[in-house]
């Protein structure tokens, strides 16, 4: 009984690969980790060119836990609470939700300005996979290679 309760209350999390997809109307092929974070915590709401950002989430997927932890530095419960605070104080609108990866791809392809995440790379006429880079890591690598060149 105690073992059963323990399994119920303390659940381990498995890791998975996360790919970021956007609607092809979005004129970007790469975003920094900070830019992606700003989008998913409601700080940034507009793409360059006055196009509204439409973030899509799939809270029922284990991929969601991986995504929010990796890119927003929040657990899925902290992510949910963050958005509840924004929505019920009038400071933001809740992201669109999908219940499966298939629905996530559909919602990203149907909505101009939409962005979402999936477990494998996808490129169609309505959806494209973009690169997410770590700006700080790039600067570090650049400075390191510069140092090596000087030697």
């Amino acid at each position: 009984m105690i073992y059963f309760l323990g399994c119920f209350l303390f659940v381990p999390v498995a890791a998975a690969e996360v790919y970021i997809i956007v609607n092809t109307t979005i004129p970007v092929s790469a975003l920094s980790k900070n830019e992606l974070r700003d989008i998913y915590i409601g700080k940034r709401t507009i793409w360059n060119g006055n196009l509204k950002i439409v973030p899509v989430i799939a809270p029922s997927l284990s991929l969601h836990d991986e995504f929010v932890l990796k890119y927003t530095r929040k657990s899925s419960s902290q992510f949910k609470i963050w958005w509840l605070k924004l929505v019920f104080s009038g400071e933001g609108a809740f992201p669109k939700t999908a219940s499966s990866e298939k629905e996530m791809i559909e919602k990203v392809s149907e909505n101009e300005g939409a962005i979402g995440y999936v477990s494998s790379e996808i490129n169609t006429d309505r959806v494209k996979t973009i690169v997410i880079y770590d700006k700080d890591e790039m600067i570090k690598t650049f400075e390191k290679s510069k140092g090596t060149d000087n030697e």
């Binding site: 659940v11 700080k43 507009i46 509204k52 899925s76 419960s77 902290q78 609470i81 104080s89 609108a93």
Partner: protein, 405 residues
């Protein structure tokens, strides 16, 4: 719900239908409802809570839409019952237009939530926190003051992790300040005590002390948050307040008297720190609330709290906090008895423990206990005929079920 509120709701629903039919952004509708149960030992928190009470619920629904990519409009209706307060009357909680010019500058106009500490803007939404009752710095008895500010404001995100919110206008209460604990109960105590000292009469010679009007002027709300370079560490400072003019009437030995009380400043200042590490959140907050009436000595409330929460699984979270609240920072043991109540009314020390269960994405159930020392600002104990008939050490137990969509 009055005619204006029904008209606004109807407008949003019709507006939504029209926008959807033109392929534009539909209106988003979100809501929450919660029902609580409270049981206390020794003293009442709300009427008859020593025998258990269900008079503790909240209900909110909001409508919002993007009129253009940069312009958002919305409104939230809110009703609550908390013993003698609220009584399920529906009011406008917030209603404003928000124009996002740039990430660093957004402009708002309307009725906005007040930023005070880390949790005030979401204080009515139990799903957004671990605890049922917030620590002393949020002064539940003075909730009417924390509700909203009506006017204009600006907000935005600045470089280096800073964000800000500014609002100017009037602190606004959709029900009535005259019925609030501060203006209808606590201040009459102070007025009676002050009048008795000035006239040499007994406080009991002053009867039927009550406010006839309460007016806020020059109110402002300032909030600054810094997401520090240390991942998970967030610091914030908030201020809100203004000038208050209160008209009071009372009878002095049977003779009617009218008195205007002017608070040159009535404000709340909070500094907060919150550190999130994986599924653990540590936070600490310090609040001072200066208030001084014209020709009266300057006074200040003081409160501080520290909390720790940890989520063990998607289902289960545990939280504890400790908080202290003092109505007079310079008389923490109540030895001066400034308000004519016994010394144990001059502090409120609260140890709280909460078990939160996220039954599903939308349903949340919480169990909570409080070990309390003191009675400061606990409304029910100010209504007693005999102030000796209270318990200094007491407990509060709560259960609450919430749903949001």
């Amino acid at each position: 719900m009055n005619r204006l509120q029904i008209a606004i709701s109807s407008f949003f629903i019709l507006f939504s239908a029209c926008m959807a039919s033109y392929g534009m952004e539909p209106v988003s509708i979100h809501g929450f409802v919660s029902q609580g149960y409270i049981h206390s030992t020794g003293n009442d928190v709300i009427p008859d809570s020593t025998n258990g009470s269900f008079e503790m619920n909240e209900l909110g629904i909001n409508f919002s839409t993007l009129v253009s990519p940069r312009l958002r409009m919305g409104a939230q209706f809110f009703a609550r019952d908390y013993g003698d307060y609220g009584n399920d009357q529906v009011n406008i909680d917030w209603a404003f237009a928000d124009y996002n010019y740039k990430p660093w500058l957004g402009i708002r106009a309307g009725r906005m939530k007040i930023a005070s500490g880390l949790y005030n803007i979401s204080r009515d939404l139990g799903s957004a926190r671990t605890f049922i009752m917030l620590p002393g710095i949020y002064m539940e008895s003075f909730r009417e003051l924390f509700v909203g500010i009506k006017g204009i404001g600006a907000h935005g995100y600045l470089p280096y992790g800073f964000s800000y919110v500014l609002s100017f206008g009037v602190i606004d209460n959709p029900s009535n300040f005259k019925d609030s604990f501060l203006f209808a109960t606590l201040l009459p105590f102070t007025v009676k005590g002050t009048a008795a000292r000035m006239t040499g009469l007994s406080p009991d010679d002053f009867t039927n002390v009550r406010p006839t009007s309460v007016t806020w002027r020059n109110s402002k709300n300032i909030g600054l948050v810094w997401d520090t370079p240390l991942p998970g560490l967030r610091l914030s400072g908030t201020y809100w307040g203004g000038r208050v003019e209160e008209e009071m009437v009372f009878e002095m030995s049977g003779i009617p008297v009218s008195q205007e009380v002017i608070f040159e400043e009535l404000a709340v200042r909070v500094v907060s720190a919150e550190y999130t590490f994986s599924d653990t959140i540590l936070s600490a907050e310090y609040m001072t609330a200066p208030f001084y009436a014209k020709d009266q000595p300057r006074r200040k409330l003081e409160a501080y709290s520290a909390s720790l929460t940890h989520r063990f699984s998607p289902l289960f979270e545990l939280g504890i906090y400790y908080s202290e609240l003092y109505p007079h920072y310079d008389d923490k043991d109540g030895s001066e008895e400034r308000e004519g109540v016994p010394p144990n009314y001059y502090w409120y020390k609260d140890f709280c423990y909460t078990f939160r269960f996220d039954i599903s994405y939308n349903w949340i159930f919480k169990l909570e206990g409080h070990v309390v020392d003191g009675l400061a600002l606990n409304p029910q104990t100010y209504y007693l005929d005999d102030f000796g008939d209270v318990k200094t050490h007491w407990e509060i137990y709560l259960a609450k079920l919430s749903y949001n969509f």
